[in-house]
């Protein structure tokens, strides 16, 4: 059950999560790392090898089998990868890429512009584009003037960050391998596939022709699938594996105390108290706004996520360009302010109760934090019951918008801000909870303004500030805290861990001390 919940939760984050390892933050040069066999425990069976179907279930392999066009550092600065240069036209309607020379796919085929074109074509196809498809919405067409150059044209001027996100999300697949990419990986990455035992794990070995110098360090990479966090942790403690990837925050905290190394990447999820503003008392703005103050974020972070993460009042990770810490201070836990807003709503004592808080019963953290909110609500005179649903029943309710309020994590919070609309509660059209027409036109307009902000820094900043203000004001989603996904817990003999902007697992820089 734990497995299910984790997967569900991460599905939120997977929707369009891009991929880009950052250049190793120059691990202390004195550190001499040795190669060998790296044994990694993962908590999910991988779905397939298609990099355009990126999700937490294949977070551990994609960056090892493939490379993307560009990468981000943990604080969001673009870095060259398979594209050595990218020139955005002054009118922001096109980008020209120079491709790296001397790179070959695992099959031996040289990497040229044809594979980038084929990848773009797959991404733009509504049937095959999968998670990349919606990111391709800004793209008009593309061309390859020569083997080393690709030009992508946009439908309208696009913000620079949005263009970079697209490049970071594009992972070239070998043209002739595109039809079979789900079962046969076709990338340029530092490792090649040796074998896969479904349900148990897979084995990779170093790609001898990889273009990065002195990488990968470890010659062999073995992933073992564990169905439970506790089992993976036990394997690490007994020395059966060297690293646990994507385990729980609580285990990470405990293992850190026991002398293990813990690494948290810059691409967390943000837990959001989702409010169905089309129902009952939630139609009242003032009542919704009370929840900005009513939620004891610090306690939620502590109980639900062992204190790993940050309390937030907006759905952004610190790496996001729209991140603004001031909001967290302004909307701190304050029952008095919450009470005032409830009074100001003009709703009677009967009107404010009679709804249920939907809870994902399969997720331990959700059960605990929902009880915290229930306790706070009780204190301000709003007694509510918890509606516990397990697994499929919960997701069905979530997807159908069949709830008054519930906790659900959102992803893509470290990227271009309008990417948050890939999460159902923040969708601007076809929103399954709020329906059409969107009940918060100010929010829809604020997102459109962000998408249209192609001018200077001031214009972009103003668009972000506006979005932040509107989100807190409309208060249909109350972010509570960020928490880690793709946590890495490593034994002390491991060195050279590289963090990825999307918290994917990067093995090529890891070695033994």
């Amino acid at each position: 059950m734990t497995k299910l919940s984790r997967r569900q939760f991460c599905m939120t984050g997977l929707a369009l999560a891009g991929a880009a390892p950052l250049i190793a933050a120059a691990p202390a040069s004195a550190q001499q790392l040795k190669g060998g066999t790296l044994r990694v425990a993962v908590l999910s069976e991988l779905a397939n090898f298609d990099p355009q179907q990126l999700s937490t279930v294949n977070f551990h392999v994609i960056k090892n089998l493939y490379d993307s066009l560009i990468e981000y550092t943990p604080d969001g600065k673009p870095q060259p990868s398979l594209a050595t240069e990218w020139k955005i036209a002054p009118d922001k309607t096109s980008v020209s890429l120079t491709l790296r020379d001397g790179v070959t796919f695992h099959s031996g085929t040289p990497f040229k512009s044809d594979s980038v074109l084929a990848t773009l074509q797959k991404g733009a196809d509504p049937k095959r584009g999968k998670n990349v498809f919606s990111t391709m919405a800004i793209v008009k067409d593309w061309s390859a003037p020569d083997e080393r150059t690709v030009v992508i044209n946009f439908k309208a001027p696009a913000p620079e960050r949005q263009i970079l996100d697209l490049l970071q999300f594009l992972i070239p697949i070998e043209a002739k391998g595109i039809d079979t990419v789900e079962t046969v990986p076709a990338g340029t990455g530092p490792y090649t596939l040796v074998s896969r035992a479904v349900g148990q794990g897979l084995t990779l070995k170093a790609n001898p022709k990889h273009w990065r110098e002195k990488q990968p360090i470890a010659q062999d990479l073995v992933f073992t699938v564990f169905s439970e966090d506790a089992a993976a942790t036990a394997a690490l403690e007994s020395g059966a594996v060297d690293i646990v990837y994507n385990g729980s925050s609580r285990s990470a905290v405990r293992l850190k105390g026991a002398g293990y190394q813990v690494f948290a990447g810059p691409g967390p999820l943000v837990q959001v108290f989702r409010i169905n503003s089309t129902r009952g008392p939630f139609r009242n703005k003032s009542f919704r706004q009370a929840f900005n103050y009513l939620i004891d974020r610090a306690s939620i972070l502590r109980v639900g996520y062992a204190g790993m993460g940050k309390v937030v009042a907006l759905p952004w990770a610190p790496a996001s360009p729209a991140f603004d810490d001031n909001y967290t201070k302004t909307y701190a836990y304050d029952l008095e302010k919450a009470r005032k807003l409830i009074t100001a709503s003009g709703l009677s004592a009967d009107e404010i109760k009679g709804w249920k808080l939907l809870v994902n019963g399969s997720d331990e953290a959700s059960v605990a934090i929902s009880q915290i909110v229930q306790g706070s609500l009780q204190k301000v005179g709003v007694p509510v019951e918890l509606d516990m649903r397990q697994g499929a029943e919960y997701v069905t309710a979530l997807l159908g918008g069949d709830f008054a309020a519930t906790f659900g994590a959102v992803g893509n919070v470290q990227k271009f801000p309008s990417r948050v609309t890939t999460n159902s509660i923040y969708r601007t059209s076809g929103n399954p909870i709020l329906r059409d027409p969107h009940p918060h036109p100010d929010y829809v307009a604020a997102i459109a303004k962000v998408d249209a902000a192609t001018g200077g820094e001031a214009e972009v900043k103003a668009a972000y500030d506006n979005l932040n203000r509107v989100m807190v004001d409309e208060a249909f989603g109350i972010p509570t805290n960020s928490y880690d996904v793709g946590l890495i817990v490593a034994s002390e003999k491991i060195g050279g861990i590289t963090l990825d902007i999307d918290n994917l697992f990067i093995a090529r820089t890891i070695g033994f001390k």
């Binding site: 299910l4 599905m11 939120t12 479904v198 036990a234 399969s362 697994g391 069905t396 159902s424």
Partner: protein, 315 residues
């Protein structure tokens, strides 16, 4: 004998047919379907419709059942909706794990249960009997999940001798690893079964000891050891085999709680996971396998009966 076995096997078919339909019907009575899980919680309405159509959930229930049955009869139990792996393969991975745990638990139970039962049956109502009967009551009454937690606290958290979470390692591949993973769950489950066996075997031993033939043997001066060892044990063994068989059959699907405590990858937990995700083909497969195992073990027990007691004859 062969004819009897064949007849018994043939009788299983209609039962399985009815059961499979009943499971199908019940699956549809349960709220929440698999579509949302497959499509993902951020899916659009179009994606949901697409998934519904692709998996054929828009067809009438009877048509879906007929479709499933047609394939099942050719040995194709379909793919898991969630992991897209063949149902039989998923079950095939879990069944050995379940059997290994069940067998080890039964061995633990026999090792504890038989001496306890004999020692207390030799002198009923003695202080030893009372102590040992108390042990059986304790073994039966302590919830397996609490005992499991206590064992984890002692051996994994405090002493750090054994892992707190078990995984399945085939005994013949890495015996040492397998034993390390198996000790705690097998002990937890085994202690419970030893309570059942202890209580049951004691009662039937005492019952047999009062039987006429024992009195006759005693009167004839047959040594006591021989009476207990040969006559009483042999006759008490009969119902005993039944209990062991039933326990074994029960564990194929029913050891979920122990599996949950130790996060052991058994069939019961696979089924529960399948129910939570509404993985229809996997639910069907798991329950049918559990039923078949139940019936086969029952058959095996009946045949063992005949072997132990030649007076019993099957036709």
């Amino acid at each position: 004998m062969t004819a009897y076995v064949l007849r018994r096997l043939a009788q299983m078919l209609p039962v399985l047919l009815i059961a499979s339909f009943a499971i199908f019907a019940m699956i549809y009575a349960v709220p929440g379907g698999p579509v949302a899980v497959i499509a993902g919680e951020n899916a659009t309405a179009e994606e949901v419709a697409e998934v519904t159509r692709r998996f054929g959930f828009d067809r009438p229930m009877v048509v879906q059942y007929a479709d499933w049955l047609g394939r099942a009869l050719t040995g194709d139990f379909g793919l898991s909706l969630h992991s897209r792996q063949p149902v039989l393969q998923l079950i095939g991975e879990r069944l050995p794990a379940t059997l290994q745990l069940a067998l080890c638990a039964i061995i633990v139970a026999l090792v504890i249960g038989i001496p306890v039962a004999i020692a207390s049956a030799v002198r009923p109502n003695s202080w030893l009997d009372r102590v040992l009967s108390g042990w059986s009551a304790l073994a039966l009454g302590v919830p397996t999940f609490w005992l499991g937690i206590l064992l984890i606290l002692l051996f994994a958290v405090e002493l750090r001798w054994l892992p707190s979470a078990s995984r399945y390692v085939p005994l013949w591949q890495a015996p040492l690893d397998a034993v390390r993973s198996l000790v705690l769950p097998a002990l937890t489950l085994g202690v419970y079964v030893s309570g059942v066996l202890g209580r049951f075997l004691r009662a039937s031993l005492i019952g047999e000891a009062r039987a006429d033939y024992v009195r006759t043997a005693r009167a004839k001066g047959v040594p006591e050891k021989r009476i207990v060892g040969l006559h009483i044990m042999r006759n008490a063994l009969l119902p005993f085999v039944t209990i062991v068989g039933l326990m074994m059959a029960h564990f194929i699907g029913g050891a979920v709680v122990t599996e949950a405590v130790f996060t052991y990858p058994g069939l019961g937990r696979l089924l529960i996971q399948a129910i939570t995700t509404r993985d229809y083909p996997l639910i069907q497969g798991c329950i049918l396998v559990i039923l078949i195992a139940y019936m086969l073990i029952n058959l095996a027990v009946d045949m063992l009966y005949a072997w132990i007691d030649p007076r019993i004859e099957y036709r």
